[in-house]
Amino acid sequence: MSDFNEKQQDIVDEFSVFEDWLDRYNYLIELGNDLPAIDPRYRTSEYLINGCQSKVWLHADLVDGRLVFDADSDAIIVKGIVALLVKLMNNRTPEEILDNDLFFIDGIGLRQNLSPTRSNGLLAMVKKMRLYAMAYQAREKQNKES
């Protein structure tokens, strides 16, 4: 199993110990509280992801060929989900982000337990992360060619 998928499996395992939904939410709240607030420069409408009742901001840099995400939400449970995604996706190459399926979302029951609009918010986050990966991949390729 790749490192990426091992990390996903770790998340699924972490959540499997919780018998109750409220415990899962408590854990997400903890993760949300531990995620540092986004750089105020990126807490703007330019970095806002639509599709969510709550607001989510996301920014990514490429450092030594790997993506470094900075993200935040004004709702703490959503911020916990953001933290999970950041934990998994941070310091990955664009290829790792683009080539792997995210099975942990289903694995921890986040997809089927969130209503479509909420789920869209989560999926919108993933989509945006992949768009960043694509953009940086294209830039890298261009740099190599020139």
Binding site: W21, L22, Y25, N26, I29, Q53, S54, K55, D74, A75, I76, I77, V78, R118
Partner: protein, 406 residues
């Protein structure tokens, strides 16, 4: 006589279930209400044995269905105490009704420079159709503001009603603040200037008796699904003398008298405004729902809901750091609140897992949220099948949720 709520709850099959292994506490009645068995059975039987298009065939089923449909219209007329069934138009819901008036009335009476008067607490459904009309005609949308208790600032009405005002569209009861508006006073003042008034009764009809002749309103709209009936059905009441003058807003079958390629003459009221095959099962389902509510009686409902409202408000006010939005003296059992420094979405997600269904967000009233400078609230909306025990569960759940989130 008091309500036998236990008995009433047993009439609603959906209420008796568990979600996430917890008993369901349904407090999202402002969004939609559940259906009593009599409504479900009525519609099921219709589809099983009577389905046939109304006003079309001369065969047995069609005649039967037409009779039932027209009896439903008479039932709605009686429910609103309208003068005639010509004044009762079946629509797709309150939104459909408002759009119909905004179009038909707007086409006939609104021109560039005219004004349409609404209030700051309207549902988007009673804002956007008028905005669209104003855009089409070059007219202006004017707004009656409310104070921080969620009550209309009536002193402003006198200056907002001008010689340019063509119509006033106002919610009878607010879906996000719970306020019951002083609609009779608004109507009296508007009529003094010859301005007709549309009332949005979507949040009122399930809580109290409405008498359109006593109110003296010109249009009254509501949705079936918010008064224990099916969704996709609703009512537009319009004063006959006004409806007669209005052009139809949709063309199609049944709304016509004679059609040639050169010209078309329209059917009489109310059919002029019911183009196409109508939602007759919805209308008959609504009629069954109205019978159900009427059999319980609005006097008993009002007394019970007043008690429930007083109890719930007191309990909510007892929660530290919780702010209630909407503290009008006359109100329905709809409660909007927000704990300090907590996102409504987080609260809604956690309450959901406790089996408590509330609504979070702007409740389609973004200007209300803007008034208070917030991005949303949590709303618990109760009807006569809700109980003080459910209030207690909500309050306990809120306390636990706030603890988790702070």
């Amino acid at each position: 006589m008091g309500l036998n709520v236990k008995q009433i709850r047993s009439d609603f099959p959906l209420l008796d279930q568990q979600v996430y292994n917890k008993p369901l506490i349904y407090l999202d009645n402002g969004a939609t209400t559940q259906k009593p068995r009599v409504v479900i059975d009525t519609m099921r039987k219709l589809l099983e044995s009577s389905n046939s298009s109304v006003h079309r065939g001369l065969h047995y089923l069609s005649e039967q269905m037409t009779d039932r449909y027209e009896a439903a219209r008479e039932n709605v007329r009686s429910f609103l105490n309208a003068a005639s069934t010509s004044e009762i138009i079946f629509t797709s819901g309150a939104t459909g009704s408002i759009n119909a008036v905004a179009f038909s009335f707007g086409e006939k009476y609104v021109s560039a420079g005219d004004e349409v008067l609404i209030s700051e607490m309207e549902h988007h459904s009673n804002i956007v159709p008028w905005q669209m009309l104003c855009d089409r005609k070059g007219a202006y949308l004017k707004v009656i503001p409310f104070n921080d208790d969620g009550e209309l600032i009536m002193e402003k009405l006198d200056t907002l009603l001008t010689g340019k005002t063509r119509i006033v569209a106002l919610t009878h009861a607010s879906n996000s603040l719970g306020t019951i508006n002083p609609v009779k006073e608004v109507i009296r003042k508007a009529h003094a200037r010859g301005v007709p008034v549309l009332l949005d009764g979507a949040q009122m009809v399930q809580h109290g008796a409405v008498d359109v002749r006593e109110l003296d309103c010109d249009f009254y709209v509501f949705s079936a699904h918010k008064i224990f009936g099916p969704n996709g059905s609703g009512v537009l009441y319009g004063r006959e003398s006004i409806l007669e003058e209005l052009p139809p807003y949709q063309g199609g079958g049944d709304m016509v008298d004679q059609v040639t390629f050169e010209e078309t003459s329209y059917n009489t009221l109310p059919f002029k405004f019911e183009a196409g095959t109508t939602n007759y099962t919805g209308a008959i389902g609504l009629s069954a729902a109205l019978d159900y509510v009427t059999s319980i009686g609005f006097e008993s409902i009002r007394r019970y809901e007043e008690e429930l409202t007083g109890y719930t408000l007191e309990k909510l006010r007892g929660i530290d750091g919780l702010r209630n939005y909407g503290n009008a003296s006359r109100r329905i059992s709809v409660f909007s609140f927000l704990p300090e420094n907590i996102h409504p979405y987080d609260v809604g997600m956690i309450l959901d897992k406790m089996g408590i269904a509330v609504r979070t967000g702007t409740h389609c009233t973004q200007p209300v949220m803007d008034h208070f400078g917030i991005n949303g609230t949590i709303r618990a909306s109760m009807v006569f099948y809700n109980t003080m025990g459910e209030t207690d569960a909500l309050v306990d759940g809120l306390k636990r949720t706030i603890k988790m989130l702070s």
